[in-house]
Symmetry: C2
Subunit: 168 residues, 2 copies
Amino acid sequence: MGEHLSKTAPLEPLSVSDSPERKFGEFLEIRGEKLTEPRRVLVRHIFDAHKHFDADELAAELQAAGRRVSRATIYRTLRLLVDAGLLRELRLTNRTAYEHDYGYPSHDHLHCSRCNKIVEFRDDSIRRICDQISRDNGFRATGRRLVIEGVCAECSKARPPKRMLDLI
Amino acid sequence: MGEHLSKTAPLEPLSVSDSPERKFGEFLEIRGEKLTEPRRVLVRHIFDAHKHFDADELAAELQAAGRRVSRATIYRTLRLLVDAGLLRELRLTNRTAYEHDYGYPSHDHLHCSRCNKIVEFRDDSIRRICDQISRDNGFRATGRRLVIEGVCAECSKARPPKRMLDLI
DNA sequence: ATTTTTGCAAACCATTTGCAGCTGG
DNA sequence: CCAGCTGCAAATGGTTTGCAAAAAT
């Protein structure tokens, strides 16, 4: 599948004091675990470019860059990075996509179901509404995922909506 | 006390003219496909109770009811029901969960990450905001998925949030 | 009769895991 | 040194698919 979960609307990065690598190191230290070379390679590569990615793309990119890390380690490290609050998971298709959480403002997504493009947007009123709803239901909210599914402008133009002919 | 906080007003079913079975039949007819016995068993069972479910639970329930349908057919039919607009997919965990779409108002979800409970809620202002955002980005929206992740009142009480001790 | 569907079993494929050797602190 | 890590390869587990027999129109 040639899915590219890459296209991103520009949101301004937050200014954060620690580098992702350092923050990861602190997290690992608390848990008595180690910031090893493969983990350093991963966290650096991941935060080198701000985009959505999945385990497969990561493996391919590192391979191409002559910094191969085994799939097992990639999966294990991705989980750690999520636990550390550096990455967030997006389950839009059968494979899990990831995006930066640390150093990036909370936001939501538009997902084009034709070309798989993901566009980020930010809307504070949604956050406020979600906070209120969580309170109303006695939930201690830890996060939210809002994905608006649809067809982007380009795909709409390329392949206009179903006409009767399509149904015959 | 926490009782009425965590309680959610059950959403009223919409009044729809056709039964799910009939709507499914029409959908299949348009595509030149057939409403067979296993498909009837499935659509009836699924719309018999309003709840979230996955392919596995469905297989077990039908088995127990002496109406066994093969897993292959279950998966194939679930896809058809989604295409027909009768069901909606929820990808909260590794397995795909489904919920009624037809005859049920659009709504969103609170998901307890401890016990996996799913609570539905409805909020019109979110729909309006999403419509506006779609327009702003040139998307033709076909739907949305908003999941607030958190810990429900019961689980919060049972296992209070991490204290320092937990980190040592 | 022809087309579609079913069930089985095998295939798939993203992700996880057991294990032996390696590494960081 | 020693707990924790890595890579490999094998296992997992949800989901899909090829195929021959069965059912629907």
